[in-house]
Assembly symmetry: C2
Homo-oligomer: 296 residues x 2
Amino acid sequence: MESIDPTLARLFLTLAEELHFGRTAERLGWRQPQVSKGLRHLESCLGVPLLNRTSRRVRLTAAGEALREPLRDWLHQGQGLALVARAAAQGQRGQLRVGMVSPAGFGPLPSWLHAFQVAHPGVALELREATLDVQLDGLQRGSLDLGWVLQPAGAPPPPLGWRALAEEPFVLAVSQPAACRLGPEPAVDALLTEPLVLFPRDIAPALHDAVVDYYRAHGVIVQPRQRAVQMATLIHLASADFGLAWVPASMQALQRPGVLYLDAPPDAPRCQTWVLATPALGPVARAFLQGLPSAG
Amino acid sequence: MESIDPTLARLFLTLAEELHFGRTAERLGWRQPQVSKGLRHLESCLGVPLLNRTSRRVRLTAAGEALREPLRDWLHQGQGLALVARAAAQGQRGQLRVGMVSPAGFGPLPSWLHAFQVAHPGVALELREATLDVQLDGLQRGSLDLGWVLQPAGAPPPPLGWRALAEEPFVLAVSQPAACRLGPEPAVDALLTEPLVLFPRDIAPALHDAVVDYYRAHGVIVQPRQRAVQMATLIHLASADFGLAWVPASMQALQRPGVLYLDAPPDAPRCQTWVLATPALGPVARAFLQGLPSAG
DNA sequence: TAAAAATACTCCATAGGTATTTTAT
DNA sequence: ATAAAATACCTATGGAGTATTTTTA
């Protein structure tokens, strides 16, 4: 049982992108015949053709199609191994790659990460700002250890590991004029008839539904005046008097001229934040999770 | 950014096991100088020493230690890629590797798997019988797609994905003599004072605790006469009149001379079975899960 | 001084390059 | 007729082997 030569793997992957032997050779800094020979060699090693090719058309076979993504991931991982070794030689005891959606930056995660970094100085912390779908992809591919996202659904969907780690109240971001209109202690009815800016449902369905249901319970059908995917954008829209925005309390850290934050009514739902753990949960990620407060 | 040569990777891994250049050469079918040269080459590629060696002692450096496990996993994955390609060429549309603890074979999993196989004829189903810890390891390494285990803890522990998929009553496996002693409709008190055979707590803590708590609620402190890790073994012990065994109802499929199954008392706890999903949840595993009945 | 890793040197298999031919549109 | 892949052939790097030297407990 032989492993695939990474050089040939790169060749195949480039070829699968270009679908052209000449351009592939150019991109790799090779000559065209070498590409032909290399691919033939790879195919004979595997025992199956990967590309159907004539002098006019190059197409992936089923085998090529099936091989493409896993091989890409494998090669990518392999490139990381060299870094692992070099880092370990300098006292690095592992890495933790954490994805965050932007608003989460304002939650408790940064301080937890800092505490972890102090407790484990050897660990290389890597933070990446990414949307939910990018994080899910990274977690599945193993290019991300932990994701930090707003609760994207009521129950753990296709079983990646979820873990509730933070819950906080909502606050309402409003413009100065709106704040004046509403007064210092606005009535619930007054609040709910204000224009609203809201994130699209698919960003955080449970969160979205919590807000919508709350409005419905008070006899108001939600009709957002504007939608935006980022919490920060919503707050900017609110500051421009587009309407009020329901955001997690930790977003109050984002202070902008013309924006005030009001407490949500006492009967309003609370806002949940979650950690979403990769399946390939490394020892470092485990250590990190064990150091966290046990969740609700 | 260059990837590690798999040949050198194999060399290093063998060397890390043997800690001896000569024996390593022998195991690989090489000559000793080639091992020296190969390792030096690898080290110069990485830019860090992997082994501290004198003519008397060979030891892994920190970098070598850090590289060992991930490299092993990487190489293993790489070997699988060739199989993926070959299988795809023959219409194979993916694979699903499912781990089962032995008693689970008697639960609903086999029929679900069969239904899945019918719906997805191209998928290569691979079943492996393995204990909980082996399955967890396989899931983390990505060498297993799904694990099928008895509920090992009340709540999802270090976040691998869990999903409850089956719940069934307990039944009591007893020997013929014990059945005679107890009579056809035994009183709860009579049952609970019978000697007991039980699995160790760490096999399935929640299940274990459910039984123990039930006994305690009736004023009985559980003192198993014998422990065994496999449900089938417990039943064999019961048949030899060691005591009665609490087992999932689906275990009744295991009919052995000298064993009878009694229904558990109506107030007894129920027994939960779970699917535990890998983090690196492949598209095939997802398709499988979507085809299942939604769980309680 | 003896076991084991490193070095010196040889050889050939093959990765990579140049020139040319074949093929399909 | 022509763009593009395949083939033929050449070269030289470096993988693999043999013999020997160096190292250290």
